[in-house]
């Protein structure tokens, strides 16, 4: 039981990170109908920028950890958002009226570009950081000596995710930008007839998705204590799987799918084998898609007209 509780905590933390990345996939799919394969690499870029910002701040002699974290969070969100915006501007927008596959191919190319750019600019070696946030709480000490722990970093990851999700949900449901985004998702021509600048709205979607991925990148850095140029690939595939599992196009679905993948992976590693954790995650995706082709929270394509 204690072991189970510990894995549940670990799974939820990992799931939060996947969920934050998955939102970027699902948002972009909803609004422009393409899979942004470069999104995983945007997450990786976010991790690197967080690391670089952290090192710069420390080299300036800053020691107040909360202040450092806040600055790192804001800087990495801002710069990664700029990457997201640029990728859309140079690689997707020129192809928007081309055939359907074109932006998707361009996205795969963009993914290679970002991966290799990071490798060249930052080196191929894994970049470790010393633990920045330490300590935690012991929740329960079992009879067999097994201890259920909740570390501070885990608390920070979950709280940050919940706060960001609340903000993001509010943005989409209650602000004009959110309304414009949903309008573009449902009918771009009509949105334009009603004065919505569709290009700008799509750009904003990429900016927001990239900012959330940057947060995920920073959380990954803090949680695992390392970044490398290739981490966007696997994390990206996992988060994409999460988005599809939850129902691509659905925002709560992305978060739910993220948590589901995080939990499946963690439990499989804990009870069966670490080597096959990805197989487990993808197998469950396949099973779900057989019985629920639109994912857990996806909507059926039929709309009354």
């Amino acid at each position: 039981m204690d072991y189970f509780a510990q894995q549940l905590i670990n799974g939820l933390v990992l799931g939060s990170i996947y969920g934050l990345i998955a939102i970027g996939y699902t948002m972009v799919y909803g609004i422009v109908g393409m899979i942004n394969f470069a999104h995983g690499d945007i997450f990786m870029i976010g991790g690197f920028i967080a690391l670089i910002t952290f090192l710069i701040l420390v080299s300036f002699g800053l020691t107040a950890i909360p202040l450092i974290l806040l600055v790192v969070l804001l800087v990495s969100m801002a710069i990664t958002a700029l990457y997201g915006w640029t990728v859309e501007r140079i690689a997707y927008r020129p192809l928007r009226h081309s055939f359907r596959l074109a932006p998707m191919l361009s996205a795969i190319g963009m993914s290679f570009v970002l991966t290799n750019y990071s490798q060249v600019a930052q080196g191929a070696r894994v970049k470790p950081v010393p633990p920045i946030i330490t300590g935690g709480y012991t929740l329960h000490e079992g009879a067999g000596g097994f201890v259920v722990q909740l570390s501070n970093i885990q608390i920070i990851v979950v709280i940050t995710t919940v706060v960001l999700l609340a903000l993001f949900t509010w943005l989409v449901s209650s602000t004009r930008l959110g309304r414009d985004m949903r309008a573009c998702e449902q009918d771009q021509t009509m949105a334009a007839l009603l004065g919505v600048d569709v290009d700008r709205t799509i750009s904003m979607t990429f900016v927001i998705g990239a900012a959330l991925a940057a947060v995920a990148g920073m959380m990954y850095l803090l949680y695992y204590g390392l970044v490398d140029f290739f981490m966007g690939f696997v994390a990206g595939i996992k988060a994409f799987t999460a988005a599809v599992l939850g129902g691509i196009g659905s925002l709560p679905g992305a978060m739910l799918g993220g948590l589901a993948i995080g939990l499946i992976e963690t439990f499989w590693s804990a009870y069966f084998s670490v080597e096959y954790k990805d197989v487990a995650a993808f197998s469950i995706l396949i099973v779900v898609l057989i019985f629920l082709p639109t994912g857990l929270l996806g909507r059926p394509e039929v709309e009354k007209v």
Binding site: R176, R179, D180, R182, A183, Q186, D187, T189, M190, A191, A192, L193, L194, G195, V196, D197, V198, R299, E303, K304, V305
Partner: protein, 248 residues
């Protein structure tokens, strides 16, 4: 006919537009004066809806000129046309299906950045015309009946306080009673608020009775124009559009 004392609100001159290689508008001339209801009638595929969409730059005009209130708007981006307070209830209504009725109306209000007071009075006006919408405010657009969607599409266009309202087939697919309700609403808006309306219709009889003037479009060209009652008298109109296309 006497020449209008003022410049028309909307003037379209030798307008050409195409989808790829298919030319849909082949040099259209049309004028709408402020305060008028103008009907545009014609068969399916004549280019009526294309004309409305070309005013919004989708597709862009190949040549010719669109002038609104003395300003050349031929090359203005689509999303800026709405800010000039030209509103459209387009073909197929295009309600946002997964937004509530309230949000659909808000999209119309956003189009011209209208103030809170304008928004409130706009809503009141729309509820007076279409009381049904008030009961449906929290419902999703996609769940409305066809007639309600049409009311919502017109309501959404009205929320931007348009100077020119363009309606594409507002009676299409509606029960006669609902269609009459919608035509009555258009008449009320024109008489009480002085709203200028361009209405595209296949239902020529209704449209020409409602309109001050009408244009007939055939294969991308205007072939006839005149006052509504003049056009209703024309034997070729009666044969082509009013009596099911039968000749006698």
């Amino acid at each position: 006919m006497t020449a209008p004392a003022k410049a028309p609100l909307l003037a379209i001159r030798s307008l050409r537009a195409a989808y790829g290689k298919i030319e849909a508008l082949k040099g259209v001339n049309l004028e709408i004066n402020a305060g008028e209801i103008v009907a545009l009638i014609g068969a399916n595929g004549a280019g009526k809806s294309t004309l409305m969409m070309t005013i919004f730059g989708r597709p862009r005009a190949r040549s010719g000129q669109i002038e609104f209130d003395g300003r050349d708007i031929t090359a203005v981006p689509t999303h800026e046309i709405a800010r000039l307070r030209i509103a459209q209830s387009p073909e197929g209504r295009r309600i946002f299906p997964r937004m509530s009725v309230a949000e659909n109306l808000q999209m119309g209000a956003d189009a011209t950045d209208c103030s809170e007071a304008d928004r409130a009075s706009g809503l009141e006006r729309i509820f007076a015309l279409f009381p049904r919408l008030k009961e449906r405010m929290t419902q999703r657009g996609g769940t409305l009946s066809g007639g309600e969607q049409q009311m919502l599409a017109i309501g959404r266009a009205l929320m931007s306080r348009p100077r020119l309202l363009m309606l594409d087939e507002p009676s299409l697919g509606l029960a006669p009673l609902i269609a009459r309700q919608i035509f009555d609403a258009i008449r009320t808006l024109n008489r009480q608020d002085g709203l200028t309306v361009l209405i595209v219709e296949q239902n020529a009889n209704h449209a020409l009775k409602l309109a001050h003037r009408g244009y007939v479009m055939v294969n991308g060209l205007i072939t006839l124009s005149g006052t509504g009652s003049e056009l209703l008298q024309r034997p070729e109109i009666r044969a082509a559009y009013l009596e099911g296309g039968r000749r006698h």
